[in-house]
């Protein structure tokens, strides 16, 4: 179907309004704020240029696939690996004692270290499920595999995450082997 310029712009407007927060959040969970802003803009610019390729009803999946490619290029061009960005939250949540805050920070550090040591394909399937909260059909479409394969990969990846958590919590954080430089699968 060939859309008129007016229809195309209207479609793009809806696409942006409906999904820009989700796509920005995807990047914000994986890279720092400025890069997340750049990557989100790049993703929607690609969507604008290729609006005719964006499938009706599959917009968000298409955007996630594009976002994933954009992120892959950032990792590749900057020769960097995955790190969990900082969490924006008030340090002094109501009712938390300094000891509780310290424990929470240690736990967060352990999860970050474990996450950064996972294989990229394990990490990606976990994050799409737990952080993006996407259903398995969507994850399958984004990763290019079957929903059944997603279930299997999630099962294995959660087991590996648990093992990594055990490993990093019995090893001083500053002794954990540095993350390999690697790319998204």
């Amino acid at each position: 179907m060939v859309l008129s310029t007016t229809e195309t712009r209207e479609r793009y407007r809806r696409l942006f309004a409906d999904h820009h927060r989700a796509i920005y959040a995807y990047f914000r969970r994986r890279i720092e704020v400025e890069s997340a802003q750049d990557c989100t803009a790049e993703t929607f610019l690609i969507a604008w240029r290729r609006i005719d390729d964006v499938p009706d009803g599959g917009e968000l999946r298409w955007l996630y696939i594009t976002a994933r490619n954009v992120l892959r290029n950032v990792y590749r061009s900057k020769r960097r690996s995955f790190t969990v960005p900082g969490i924006d939250r008030d340090v002094a949540d109501c009712g938390e004692t300094p000891e509780v805050v310290l424990l929470r920070h240690e736990e967060e550090a352990a999860v970050r270290a474990a996450l950064e040591h996972l294989r990229p394909d394990d990490r990606e399937v976990l994050l799409l499920s737990v952080w993006e909260e996407l259903p398995r059909d969507d994850i399958a479409a984004i990763l290019g595999c079957s929903p059944h394969a997603v279930s299997q990969r999630l099962h294995r990846a959660s087991g590996r995450l648990a093992k990594e958590l055990d490993r990093v919590t019995t090893t001083p954080i500053n002794r954990v082997v540095p993350t390999r430089v690697e790319e998204l699968p």
């Binding site: 008129s4 310029t5 309004a17 005719d52 290029n73 969990v84 999860v111 952080w131």
Partner: protein, 402 residues
């Protein structure tokens, strides 16, 4: 021992953005502004349709609008502009920019450069256009000291040579009346993987973005951008001209699809050292990169792109054929199933050697098949560099890209 459910709960607890709806609007303002800017300013939004899409669109008849329909369309556009303005929080809506803008004279980026003038030629050296790790990638720019612009903007990539820029070619063309950028694009420690996966070309494409952003300061019209390269330099030039660049990491994006591509000794796609190991290991990204070069359905060119293509009988990087090529190394590269037949059609198998000229003739055939005008120069000499005659022809071609 941590169990799976606990691990997943701990992972959920460290989600840096637990609720996207709670993201501060100010944090998103940059994104919204940039999208609005790109959509309103980037004429390529309408030009960068693929050749396949263009053919589909041309196949759709366009009935002459009646006055009532014209009113409805105008009303609809107005509504959309108002909605878009409200949506993007700007006074100006998304003004359609279907036509190539008239000559651009306003710099997109204003920076003060140290210009050196020597006779009829001026230059600025070492302008950074991208970075790779700790290394700044730079470009020099050469432009006429006298005379009236606006001049065409040329970005010329040297052959694959670490730290080199095509300054000689740049000087020659600048003296004829052009603003010519000569970027260093090949740096040390580039892996074969980076080459076949296109990351190298993406970085090189940033030079075109920078050139278009600053060219008006030197009298250049980025609307008339020509990209040029020979041997290894043909790859980044073609990458940009075909609209294949993924420039999210570029300080300045490519805003104007090039209207001219000048390439020599293309395309090195059958080179053993550069590519074979990746195809033997069935590297999907390598195959995708090759497909982007060869498959017109993947191209996003300017409507008015034209190509000047030259090749000589140089024998240094040719591939001896052994009769099993179609089932072997060629089959691994054939994403569309037409590669072998197309090579046969251009006579690539006639002499037992896959010449660089065969690459060129394949490129020519696919360009023509996509409806892109091509000027060719097949030279019987063994030259690997540009001759005076070639410079004359190339300049005639560039001067005609108006």
């Amino acid at each position: 021992m941590t169990d799976r459910d606990t691990a997943l709960a701990m992972l959920a607890a460290v989600n840096p953005v637990a609720d996207p709806a709670a993201i501060d609007v100010d944090e998103l303002r940059t994104v919204i502004d940039r999208c609005e800017h790109e959509v309103s300013a980037d004429r390529s939004a309408n030009d960068r349709v693929t050749r396949g899409e263009r053919r589909s669109r041309e196949a759709v008849s366009s009935p002459r609008p009646t006055p009532a329909l014209a009113f409805a369309v105008a009303f609809g556009l107005t509504v959309v502009a108002v909605v878009a303005a409200a949506f993007f929080g700007r006074d100006a809506g998304l003004a359609p920019s279907d036509e190539r803008p008239v000559t651009t004279t306003t710099p997109i980026t204003t920076t003060t450069f140290a210009v050196t003038t020597s006779g009829s030629l001026s230059m600025v050296k070492d302008i950074p256009y991208a970075s790779e790790g700790e290394v700044d990638l730079t470009t020099s720019v050469f432009f006429p000291s006298e005379g009236e612009g606006p001049w065409p903007v040329i970005v010329v990539y040297a052959e694959y040579c670490t730290g080199c820029e095509a300054d000689n070619t740049a000087r020659i063309l600048a003296m004829r009346g052009a603003v010519v950028f000569a970027p260093v694009w090949a740096i040390e420690d580039v892996s074969a993987t980076e080459y076949v996966e296109g990351a190298l070309f993406d970085r090189a494409a940033c030079a075109v973005g920078l050139a278009q952003a600053v060219a008006p300061q030197f009298g250049g019209d980025p609307n008339r951008t020509i990209v040029m390269g020979d041997a290894g330099g043909e790859h980044p030039a073609t990458w940009v001209a075909y609209g294949l660049e993924r420039t999210s990491a570029c300080p300045e994006p490519v805003r104007y699809p090039p209207v001219g591509l000048v390439v020599g000794a293309p395309q090195w796609l059958f080179h053993e050292d550069l590519w074979d190991q990746d195809f033997v290991s069935a590297d999907a990204v390598a195959l995708d990169t090759l497909d982007r070069f060869l498959n017109p359905e993947r191209w996003h060119t300017a409507d008015d792109l034209a190509v000047y293509l030259w090749a000589t009988a140089y024998q240094g990087n040719n591939r001896i054929l052994d009769g099993s090529d179609a089932e072997g190394w060629l089959a691994m590269r054939d994403s569309t199933g037409t590669l072998v037949a197309d090579l046969e059609a251009v006579g690539a198998f006639d002499d037992g050697v896959m010449l660089l000229e065969d690459d060129a003739r394949l490129m020519e055939a696919r360009l023509r098949g996509a409806g892109i005008p091509v000027v060719t120069h097949y030279d019987e000499t063994y030259l690997t560099t540009l001759s005076v005659k070639l410079y004359d022809e190339i300049w005639t071609f560039i001067d005609g890209r108006r």
